[in-house]
């Protein structure tokens, strides 16, 4: 039997609490994520996809329900503590890297994700050879720009770096929030291929929000659809392989 890695049980999350504008963004949401799942997340705007990520990440506190990691309740743990098991890549390339710090410095920061930071020297130079090899796997010239401030990189390079930073120290759960959406089609495809490759290789447990139906079908072993704060559709394995964009479109037409 596969043990669930991350479980969301009856999760309720409201905004504008106790005001007339109160809205329930996550409505008794249930989701069980197994180790090694690569889940693509679909849903229209306002369905609660980003809120789901923010609830898992701890940026938003939930009103009721439970979030369990390996059976342990983490619903009230801080954002900082959750980074021990969790890594994220945001949609906006600006959010993922520190613009005035160079590529190597950003990697060094990411390598200590969730760990204590002490007054010990950072020893950046010792890591440069290793970082050069790691960045070379992205095939986009990052390895030649290790000492360039990330603010001077292209959006594609920055987003590739953000992804690299998220996976440098193996996360138990990886959240990708439309991480290729802000890039041009070619760069976006390159990063998508690379993402898939890395997730497969390292057998990462990953949730990926996307608006590309093709991407949602091509990648991952499981596909879920969020609607009005609930998981309304959840397929995996052969059932997912049998899905087509037409079937998905007709499903969306049904629920709207």
């Amino acid at each position: 039997m596969i043990k669930p890695l991350l479980e969301l049980k009856n999760v309720v999350l409201k905004v504008n609490r106790n005001t007339p504008e109160e809205i329930m963004i996550l409505d008794h949401l249930n989701l069980t994520i197994n180790a090694g799942d690569f889940i693509t997340v679909l849903g229209s705007n306002g369905a609660g996809k980003s809120t789901l990520f923010n609830a898992i990440g701890g940026d938003l506190s939930i009103d009721s329900g439970q979030i369990l990691l390996n059976g342990k309740d983490i619903s009230h743990e801080s954002v900082e503590r959750r980074t021990r098991f969790l890594a994220r890549v945001f949609q906006d390339p600006k959010l993922g890297t520190a613009p005035r710090m160079n590529v190597a410095e950003n990697l060094l920061l990411a390598e200590r994700r969730g760990q204590r930071r002490t007054l010990a020297p950072r020893h950046l130079n010792k890591q440069l050879d290793r970082y050069k090899k790691i960045t070379a796997t992205m095939h986009n010239g990052l390895d030649e720009r290790l000492t360039t401030a990330t603010g001077n990189l292209s959006g594609g390079q920055r987003q590739a770096l953000s992804f690299l930073m998220a996976t440098l120290k193996r996360p138990e759960v990886l959240l990708l929030d439309e991480h290729t959406a802000a890039l041009d089609p070619q760069t976006s495809q390159d990063l998508m291929h690379l993402t898939n490759e890395r997730v497969q290789e390292e057998q990462l447990t990953c949730l990926m929000i996307t608006h590309h139906l093709e991407d949602a079908l091509t990648y991952g072993n499981r596909l879920i659809v969020l609607h009005h704060g609930k998981v309304t559709f959840d397929v995996a394995g052969a059932e997912k392989d049998a899905l087509t964009t037409e079937k998905l479109y007709s499903f969306f037409a049904e629920i709207e």
Partner: protein, 299 residues
């Protein structure tokens, strides 16, 4: 000659403020008004402690600690109380005014006849004004060295990341609230330390000596950057000391031109404003282009 030596000495003593403010203004990327209160707070603390017989070195270190507490309060108001940083700083700055009067008992306390860091055999044996040059250099080498070391540690890198990209810092497990509080504490500790040094050098503490401090500290940062151009982070920290000395030279020239000491705050603000607008001027007037045209007669 002695005027120049005096300016260098003053520049070095006041440079502590620039490095202190650098931590918040340049690294955490906000303007901390608390410093207008912590500078006289440090001066008051040191002067009161020395008047009560405390060793001047201990009194100066005590000033650092008290300044750090003021920074802690601003930090808590800002991060836990969600008060905007500008207002949080102004609140603590205003509160410091009363605290300083309490500490000193009156608006102005002299150190006449009391022992200070400047009154020892070695410093007294130096030619006039060289005591502040010597002490200032010593202090700046130590403080700049410590800050440079800190910024290259794992914690220091997390501190820089907090000011650079808060969302990323948090997503990597950096407690950004603690980083801001720490930055405000160290920064204000250093400003208070500077206040203690200046008070001992002047021979008195005055409750109004904090007015315009943020402008003076900013001036040393900005003048250093404008004068030396593209620098690494470590070089920029050293440039603060040089900027502080240059600022004293500018003041010296201004006084020579016939302005009175009462005009200094106005002039300091004008100098700082001009320096900060330099990038705008460069764009508007296209200096380089004009320069090229002027040199190239064929064009």
């Amino acid at each position: 000659m002695s005027l120049i030596v005096s300016a260098i000495g003053q520049g070095l003593l006041w440079a502590v403020l620039g490095v202190g403010l650098f931590l918040t203004f340049r690294i955490l990327d906000f303007a901390d008004m608390t410093v207008e209160g912590t500078f006289p707070l440090g001066a008051a603390t040191a002067v009161a402690a020395i008047s009560n017989g405390m060793n001047p070195l201990l009194a100066t270190l005590l000033a650092f600690a008290i300044g750090a507490i003021a920074g802690l309060i601003t930090g808590l108001l800002y991060t836990k109380g969600h008060i905007p940083i500008l207002l949080a700083g102004i609140l603590v700055m205003t509160a410091c005014y009363s605290v300083n009067l309490r500490i000193m008992g009156r608006a102005n306390v002299s150190l006449l006849g009391k022992s200070t860091l400047f009154k020892n055999h070695f410093l007294a044996s130096l030619p006039q004004y060289f005591d502040s040059v010597f002490l200032g250099t010593l202090v700046m080498v130590i403080i700049t060295g410590l800050v440079i070391y800190f910024l290259q540690t794992q914690l220091g890198q997390g501190f820089i990341a907090t000011g650079d990209n808060q969302t990323m810092a948090r997503s990597l497990g950096i407690n950004t609230d603690n980083m801001k509080i720490m930055g405000l504490m160290v920064s204000n500790g250093m400003i208070a330390f500077g206040g203690a040094l200046v008070a001992q050098n002047n021979g008195y503490a005055d409750v109004n000596m904090g007015i315009g401090i943020i402008v003076i500290a900013l001036a040393s940062i900005i003048i250093g950057e404008v004068a030396f151009g593209d620098l690494t982070l470590n070089q920029r920290l050293v440039a603060v000391s040089l900027g502080s000395i240059l600022y004293r030279f500018v003041l010296l020239i201004v006084l020579k031109l016939g302005f009175s000491a009462n005009d200094l705050n106005l002039l300091s603000s004008i100098i700082l404003a001009l320096c900060m607008m330099l990038p705008v001027f460069k764009k508007t007037f296209n200096f380089k282009h004009i320069l090229k045209r002027g040199l190239d007669t064929n064009d």
